[in-house]
């Protein structure tokens, strides 16, 4: 019974983790500019996250080590600093974007500038973490965040041509604006496959004391949670394709995003959108802050945990404190949340090799995983992702320069 509850909870938090400022913005931009043509990128993104989450969860359940633990122990400190620094940097940018997402939602609701809202949001997020109430925030935001299901309702109400949507799952290149097309593809992949997500997932498995009896549950949670999350992102893309494309609207400002739901669902749609954006970004922001603190603490051998009290875990608590407040700076200084989001997602995509490639070694290590090492299918999936990650690394910067504007 408890496990069924855990599975449901895991799936709901998985969905909440998937949908945040990055996936909403990139999916909306993709739908607005290219119709259903980039649906394949959302699908590959969800697939990638499923594979990496399942493996990090399995590694944690069998070896009793988080992904960060295993990376430092197997590859040593000299190698470990590379993923440590890279993941912290891109997560920091994503964190700043999420804070921007919450502040943007509040700005739309109140007409008060997001530059002020971001400060309030940051203090509230910090205070909640400092008080050790992360589990409440996590389940609260995941539950409330389900309001994002409104995207699915909207997508169905807009009567898309489902055959064409399915056609978008096969990659095709548009006649013009190719740089922008591929830049969005990279951003969508970066928005879906975020390292903080699978690092956090493996930490959660340790905190919940998973062992080999949880492997089946791990597969279900990682699979369903992220697949449903991907479906929501796909719904955003479909809605954007129906709402923006016929009107020739390109998403350039955050305020435009509200049209996604206010157009098909009228007055309620606006409220739903504000809530979906605000709540999911808030949940993501707290999760990223903790995920970064976990990564540092695990890498350096400090104690960590979502409910760790600052009085007993000063270094760890100050790590997320510093990170959160620093991440509020770009928004408070007037950086455009949408622009920052696009850059963060592309850089996240470029960062993937340093975490995905080492996993090939870890997931085949019998000392860590005993008989639960990767089988051929897992290795094939991981090899494809590793290859993809290298392509993303090479492509991200030139595409950012050519098609990011």
């Amino acid at each position: 019974m408890k496990k069924i509850f855990d599975v449901a909870l895991g799936i709901v938090t998985g969905i909440g983790g998937f949908l945040e400022v990055g996936s909403i913005t990139t999916a909306a931009q993709a739908g607005a500019s290219f119709g259903y043509r980039l649906a394949w990128a959302v699908a590959i993104g969800a697939f990638g996250l499923i594979v990496l989450s399942e493996m990090s969860g399995r590694l944690a359940a069998v070896s009793g080590r988080t992904l960060a633990d295993a990376m430092r122990e197997r590859f040593g400190f000299r190698f470990f600093v590379i993923p440590l620094v890279v993941v912290l940097l891109v997560s920091f940018l994503v964190l700043a974007s999420e804070l921007g997402g919450v502040a943007l939602a509040l700005q739309m609701a109140t007409n008060v500038s997001l530059r002020w809202w971001v400060l309030i949001v940051t203090v509230v997020a910090w205070a909640l973490l400092w008080k050790g109430t992360f589990s409440i925030i996590e389940y609260g935001t995941a539950g409330l965040g389900l309001v994002a299901l409104a995207f699915v309702v909207a997508a169905v109400k807009l009567h898309p041509h489902w055959g064409q949507v399915a056609g978008g799952l096969v990659p095709t290149q548009p006649a013009d604006d190719r740089a922008h097309y591929w830049f969005l593809a990279v951003s969508i992949l970066g928005a879906s496959i975020s390292p903080y997500l699978y690092f956090f997932y493996s930490s959660g498995s340790i905190e919940d004391e998973w062992d080999v009896t949880y492997l089946k549950m791990n597969r279900v949670v990682a699979g369903l949670g992220n697949a449903l999350g991907g479906l929501l992102a796909l719904a955003v893309l479909v809605v954007a394709a129906r709402v923006f494309l016929p009107r020739g609207i390109e998403v350039e400002r955050g305020e435009q995003l509200a049209m996604l739901l206010s157009s098909p669902l009228a007055r309620w749609g606006f409220a739903f959108f504000i809530m979906a954006l605000g709540v999911n970004c808030f949940g993501a922001a707290t999760e990223i802050a903790l995920s970064c603190a976990y990564l540092i603490a695990q890498g350096l051998g400090w104690e960590w945990g979502e409910d760790a009290h600052p009085k007993r875990h000063a270094r760890y608590s100050l790590a997320y404190t510093v990170l959160l407040f620093l991440a509020a700076v770009p928004m408070a200084a007037g950086v455009d949340p949408l622009k920052l989001t696009n850059v963060s997602m592309a850089l996240t995509a470029a960062s993937l090799p340093v975490t995905v490639i080492p996993m090939i070694v870890l997931m085949n290590d019998e000392a860590l995983l005993h008989e639960h090492t990767n089988k051929w299918a897992g290795n094939a999936a991981l090899a494809v992702l590793a290859l993809l990650s290298v392509v993303l690394l090479v492509a991200a910067l030139p595409l950012q320069l050519m098609g990011g504007g």
Binding site: E73, G76, G301, P310, L318
Partner: protein, 118 residues
């Protein structure tokens, strides 16, 4: 025992299971006519940074001197107190009796306790 594979970079815990950091270094004592002996487990930012580059090690050392008592040098624990080498390297000491938690304790006293509402 493979010192790199099985010991270096593992989490160090004290006799109560309190995390003390990771094995950032191991000291070997050279002896005439006898094999080198593992003498100390070394924990600290300076030995860890030193592994990346000599200048980073010096930087960490200088920072340590500058901040004073909080990060006073690496923690060297004699190998004799190691009780188990497994998932963790377990030591028969109290973490608070070593300097491994110096920074943690300093931050608790000088920073965390000053945050309102803590």
């Amino acid at each position: 025992m493979n010192l790199v594979h099985d010991v270096l970079d593992r989490v160090v815990v004290d006799r109560n299971g309190q995390h003390m950091g990771r094995v950032d270094g191991l000291a070997l004592e050279l002896r005439d006519g006898a094999p080198p002996r593992v003498s100390h487990v070394v924990i600290g930012a300076e030995p860890a940074m030193r592994r990346l580059a000599r200048w980073l090690g010096r930087l960490a050392e200088a920072l340590g001197r500058w901040t004073g008592e909080a990060t006073r040098g690496p923690t060297c624990v004699p190998w004799e107190v190691v009780t188990v080498v497994g998932k963790y390297v377990e030591l028969d000491v109290e973490a608070e009796d070593t300097s491994a938690l110096a920074l943690e304790l300093w931050l608790r006293e000088h920073v965390v306790s000053k945050v309102p509402g803590t």
